[in-house]
Symmetry: C2
Subunit: 573 residues, 2 copies
Amino acid sequence: MRLNKLLPALDWLKTYSKMDFQQDTVSSIVFTIMVIPQSLAYAMLAGLPAITGLYASILPSVLYSLFGTSRTLAVGPVALTSVMTASVVMPFAVSGTEQYATVAILLAFLSGVFLLVLSLLRLGFLTNLLSHPVISGFISASALLIVIGQLKYLLGIQSEGDTLIPLITSLYEHLSDINLPTFILSFTSIVSLLLVRRHFSGFLKYVGCSAKTVQLFGKSGPVLIVVLATVAVAVFSLDKLGVSIIGAVPNTIPSINTELIDLDIIWKLLPGAFLISIVGFVGSVSVAQSFAAKRRQDIDPNQELVGLGLANIGSALSGAFPVTGGFSRTVLNADCGAKNPMTGIISAFLILLILLFLTPLFFYLPNAILAAIISISMMQLVSVGDLCHLWRFSKKEAFLLLVTFSVVLVEGMQTGLITGVVLSLLFFLWHTSHPHIAIVGRVPGTEHFRNVQRFTVETHPSILTVRIDENLFFANARSLEERLQSLVSQNSAIKHLVLMCTAVNMIDASALQSLEKILDRLNDAGVKLHLSEVKGPVMDRLKDSDLIQHLSGKIFLTQHQAIEELEEKQAKI
Amino acid sequence: MRLNKLLPALDWLKTYSKMDFQQDTVSSIVFTIMVIPQSLAYAMLAGLPAITGLYASILPSVLYSLFGTSRTLAVGPVALTSVMTASVVMPFAVSGTEQYATVAILLAFLSGVFLLVLSLLRLGFLTNLLSHPVISGFISASALLIVIGQLKYLLGIQSEGDTLIPLITSLYEHLSDINLPTFILSFTSIVSLLLVRRHFSGFLKYVGCSAKTVQLFGKSGPVLIVVLATVAVAVFSLDKLGVSIIGAVPNTIPSINTELIDLDIIWKLLPGAFLISIVGFVGSVSVAQSFAAKRRQDIDPNQELVGLGLANIGSALSGAFPVTGGFSRTVLNADCGAKNPMTGIISAFLILLILLFLTPLFFYLPNAILAAIISISMMQLVSVGDLCHLWRFSKKEAFLLLVTFSVVLVEGMQTGLITGVVLSLLFFLWHTSHPHIAIVGRVPGTEHFRNVQRFTVETHPSILTVRIDENLFFANARSLEERLQSLVSQNSAIKHLVLMCTAVNMIDASALQSLEKILDRLNDAGVKLHLSEVKGPVMDRLKDSDLIQHLSGKIFLTQHQAIEELEEKQAKI
């Protein structure tokens, strides 16, 4: 059992048959062909030679297939983590140098270690810090930055920077250097890519392909465009006219040059590695979960940390950069018919074969078409609809999205993400420090108690029941003190204060201290303090405390009992 | 009305009579005499000439009396903010130099500005971040550091450092330089201070003083010791034997030397200024509130930010260092019979007179006795009882106290405080990311629903009611998804899932997104999702959302109604 948990592959390997293998091989071949352009493109996005994208698709994919819990997730280079890699590595080295490759490899290694540490310490909950508005703003802004960053490849000019203003300034300065052949190639590629994306399946059906063929190859249109573009460059020698191409692929895989690393660099890379690992993890788990839900399978987030952690360490060992489970990769994988992680292992093997024997085929592959692929897929991630939707739900959260979006654009991805997280924490703290406190009364004819301001309810002049709609802890302890003091001081008829604790799920020492102060002050004022509907976990906490030992009133199981008993007592007086 | 709120002094000035003034003058004279040694001592603690403590007791006290809301709080130099001042200023300058004074003044100014900004932006809730265990650990460790830091004055040796290890190392290295006269003076002072603290009131009674005199002068024992020690130094010329004394007081008050300030220093001082201002504010408000509660008066925390902010700016204008409302100052003030803030104004005037005409009296005042006063009052703040108390209540919070305590000792006050705050946030997030989710059933014969694991309750095989004991927001949205999915997948008989929302006080976009996902998955599984007992504020949020529009089940006002209707429906089938 424990071994199965550690190595989830044992689960599906048990029942794996020869027929499964045949099916998986077909799926893998199609998947591999279709995923190659994407992998090359995202390596370029990370500021590394495009071919590194293939290195990053072998060992990580195998390791995730063995240690991950999703049956469908495809792990490899992903746009968001790739561009984060570029933005983290850039301050340390110039793209294209050995130093750059070394720092990127180190970053993959550190991200892997972080994920494993999070798993060991059960700190996966930290990823919850990325709230929906922050992720949404972050993704939209990053995608926009990526598209703007790709313009240099699309136009064949030089440009630098990784935030909005330097990027645009730099593009503007070099605008006169546009390489016309590159521009024409880019323009044609984008138009054709958009066309095949929309119409290729229809075209296949139209020319009479079987439904199965259409399903398998319906999304292979982009591959066709890539092949055509590469052939065009080769035939017309466009590289001689200034169209930049991948060129010859080195025989050795890059590896860490330990001479270029010191503790200082490692120390400075840690925040970046941490952010990449949690952003990668959150994205990957959400993709895995949505596919698992469709097929009624389970995802174990903690084991996902292990799978993705090992995948990143594997990527570092392959001389590549941080990887994770990607949405578009996984959609491709599912479309190709992948039903279990064996496809990840087979396609890794196929990519290895390609790397060993077929790299000359990539010689004339133009960078511009990779940039076109990136740009098109990124434009879909810039979501204005999400902002409108949020705006209707909560202005505050829409504001959070906008702030994250703007800070990412202007100050960069790391600063933007951290700003978003800190701001969402502050908003939450603000909310919880101003707890909703309702005076409640009985809904006539029931045992049910609701807010006097929203319902017609019965109350008793000398009994005040207050429902505290929040956990009691340090962030609101002092505010609770102030509110109760002012409620009681406003009404001198009150003899009994009942705190209805239906919504109190936890209490900490700071809040207990405040309640003890409140009890003392109420005692002085001749008001008895009662508690009702205290939850089990809270009662466990309170039972030995001074509060309960000195409580002037009683603890009632239900609010109904409290009111019946107190009203009876008042009637007797 | 608005002017009264801005200048709370208008409230009490309206009814202020001549008799009040006479009483206040008597109180103020006694208070002033007694508070002087403390003020001198805390200036020394801040690394400034002792006399600066008097500068810090004039303008700040007047400004707080006019703008603050407490009737009893005494504002001036306070041990904790003084030692924080020293620890913040030390990295920028050597104690005793003009640079040091300038940075301390700047710090007071920045703290004042921070407090005013917090008030303007209504950010006072940020001070809630200081939870009880963090404050307790911080105060104990700081007090211990202060006492160890005073040993150099008590022993008459040199020593440096502001954290435990450098302090002790430095003391150990200079231990052979002990100045015997200083040591004897210190020892005698400490013993006599402890004696008069315990027995002076009794002694006054014994010699036949009236109850009123005892009440007024019962706590003036330390002043007597200070006078005696000063006279002893003067008479026996102990200063010639190496006992360090205050000496001549300069004629000019220190002021900011703008040439020594640049933006870089201001920028680097900001975190320290922020911490000093919130620590000072939290301490001051809690003292003010406890005195106000006794007298049934009100404290307005937001106006307190204004009062203390102006007091600090006033302190900067007087060439002094950060001030706040102090516990021992306020106790003295109350003991002297202060009933309204006029005492603050009168005593400020008296201190001004002393500064103008009586500074020669302080010439022979030995630093050792000030150190003795500080040490004795600080030893009372090291609280082991608090730790034991917390340990019984919650191991986690006791751990928090210990971590804060240790980090303050070893790494310094700022790092310790920040560590404590971050750790308490993490603990809270951890807790709230692992929400308590209870399956509930009806307590027989009532309309009341409780946890099936703690109570004997009635449930229905095809209806699952789940009470979520936590707010629904980004920190637990994903965990909720996982938990509900596994609950439903474990039991295939379930046709209706009722989410009982009694404890849900807020919902954000992340949680809404998760609920929508849950709804989709339940739809696929043929399970209807119902909500019950949704609170008003949460319902307001939900009513326009996709969740409610696509909800497969109903929203019930009460859990009781939900079960009655669903059971009836199931019975029909």
